[in-house]
Symmetry: C2
Subunit: 220 residues, 2 copies
Amino acid sequence: MSKGEETRREIVDRALALASEVGLESLSLGNLAANVKLSKSGLFAHFRSKEALQLEVLRRAVDLFIEEVVIPALAKPRGEPRVVTLFEGYLAWISDEQRVPRQATGGAAAGRERKGTCFFIALSQEYDDRPGPVRDLLVKSQRDWHHTLARAARLAVEQGHFRADLDAEQFAYELVGIGMAFQQLYKLLDHPKAEQRARTAFRALVARSRRADAEAPRRH
Amino acid sequence: MSKGEETRREIVDRALALASEVGLESLSLGNLAANVKLSKSGLFAHFRSKEALQLEVLRRAVDLFIEEVVIPALAKPRGEPRVVTLFEGYLAWISDEQRVPRQATGGAAAGRERKGTCFFIALSQEYDDRPGPVRDLLVKSQRDWHHTLARAARLAVEQGHFRADLDAEQFAYELVGIGMAFQQLYKLLDHPKAEQRARTAFRALVARSRRADAEAPRRH
């Protein structure tokens, strides 16, 4: 990366960290400028508008999600192992505290242990009533995630791990629900069994998706 | 209700409608004052602080939820019929557009068909990083909801509808996940099969919770 690209990337990462706390809409150019030691006009030299910055922050989050959750799963054999890796990556993504630089955040959670969150679940709430390009990109990213999960389930059918009459989109829907409830239990309710509940729900979902005569394939 | 109580109730209802769109933290006293035709000082005569107003708005949402979702279920026989009614009420709550007066909202969704949302799911995102009395009340309301669902599942075990070894809290967790994924599909993704997906997931959850020898009780 050139120096200019590096600076831009650093700004976007800081903005993502800030937006993870205060929301993308409340991302303040003033706040961000102080944070990256640039003037507001310096920021505007990198992004022509607040919306351009918001879109790039969201694109960066999508890239990170693909890198951390989707790619590692594609390295696994098709079928149940890949489905399991997608789920594990999703849980880790939701509960990961280290993804964004801590020092970049000075918001409401300052001075308090920060637990991870799913940027996309949070944005789903923020943008469901807010039409525009940011919402459109968010919708696309969430549809893509459902499609990725459904495709992995379909491949598990083809591999003979999952039963032939499995509704792959329904499988994706239920997996997403398990993740969302996990985030609530883990973060808002600070429930000691959040992860256990999520894993139990996922195991049950996989068990009832399996072919009656299929043995559980070895993980990894 | 006295005239004063009526005015107060009307303010809280308008504030709830506004908060459903812009979030509870962004609820502006100025915006709200214009909306209820009161001065900001007039508003402060009813609520000593923004936080007092926020708490009362959240309490009102909890009361509405109990009235619309929990009470109708308590009128049903214990067991699966009550569990089904809780789920149906939850879906209706999430998708209901008519709960709050439309004219009270002039926010981002103005001029666009507004689809329902779950105030609590939205707030879970808004407040998970924001400690204080509003978050505490939100946490309590969501724990209560999990407990209500788990208790209904436990009664279904006692009635012989659900199997004796059912993990009632796990049941509650999975039901909440189905509701959250429903909201995303219904509202953000505008998916034509959102309701069908939710019902299919719920039927599967109930089916695997039933006693092996229990017949499905008649739905009403």
